[in-house]
Symmetry: C2
């Protein structure tokens, strides 16, 4: 799986607790990976057993100890190994397209309802991306922009371009189904 590698890639930048990582996965990381806090705590435990991360306890008053994880040499080696290995693309899984095929069975109306729901969702998504684009990248990064900014910008662009593709498709689909 890649959750291990997604977590390691965050630990490259700085040490973090399971809670910190959960917050990361709820905000920025959510644009390209997802994981629940249960999954994250479990995976951190597994990676500690493998010695990919090391653990430091931080006592706190009232709250339970914070468990702060850092990347070990083994973890960094594994991450580098994985990074240069050919990507394994997950096969597409698109529930909406199964449902589209069921328009004959249930009629076009309930399917159109769902397509319109998706349209709303995609509009919001695009608005979110645009907002971030304005906040963090006032213009397209130029030559002297730091590599980290370039990759962050490209992640944003990826979300934006696929959201637009989905938007275009939804318009086509709705138009065609409405004429049926």
């Amino acid at each position: 799986m890649s959750l291990k590698h997604a977590i390691l890639s965050l630990l490259v930048e700085s040490e973090r607790s399971g809670y910190d990582l959960t917050k990361n996965f709820e905000s920025s990381v959510a644009f390209y990976w997802s994981a629940s806090h249960q999954q994250i705590y479990k995976t951190l435990g597994d990676m500690h057993d493998k010695n990919w991360v090391s653990l430091k306890h931080q006592a706190q008053s009232g709250k339970p100890d914070k468990k702060i994880y850092s990347l070990t040499d083994d973890g960094a080696a594994e991450l580098k190994r994985w990074a240069v290995e050919p990507v394994k693309q997950a096969a597409p899984k698109n529930q909406l397209l199964i449902k589209l095929m069921l328009a004959r069975l249930v009629g076009t109306e309930p399917i159109l309802e769902q397509l319109n729901g998706e349209l709303k969702r995609v509009y919001k998504e695009i608005a979110t991306y645009s907002k971030i684009e304005k906040q963090y990248f006032s213009s397209k990064p130029s030559h002297d922009t730091h590599l980290k900014n370039v990759t962050s910008y490209l992640t944003l662009r990826n979300g934006l371009l696929s959201a637009h593709a989905e938007l275009d498709w939804l318009h086509e689909a709705i138009e065609m189904l409405e004429n049926k």
Copy 2:
């Protein structure tokens, strides 16, 4: 999960064996869902227990019996229920974007290699879609086209539009990384 519903949606059209379904998932269905033969045989067993499908044995000489599954009333009811319930979109999981972030750690070269590999893959994908488009749909379906053709056409368009979005993004990404 939706594998059950993907299978049921095929059984609406005609009864099929596990082997037949596997072939379907390797060809046309692969554009929007994926499953291995092990998974399909298992799921058919589970659905038989739930009485969503019924079973007919077809004796064959030499080969093991063919087990032919058909949709039951319970199965059809479940499928209709699911079809009109709001879609649950799976959160994005994009390994390539994790790897992009690792360009600082491993250098841009191995990442560019993978982006170029994806570029090749997407070109092939687009070629495949275009071939099917020519074979089955010589022109954009018009008013009197059967609903089944419309939904098949839209599935194809979905693949084509997202492949093009990926292509555009890959071009942007490669250009930016090459200038680093």
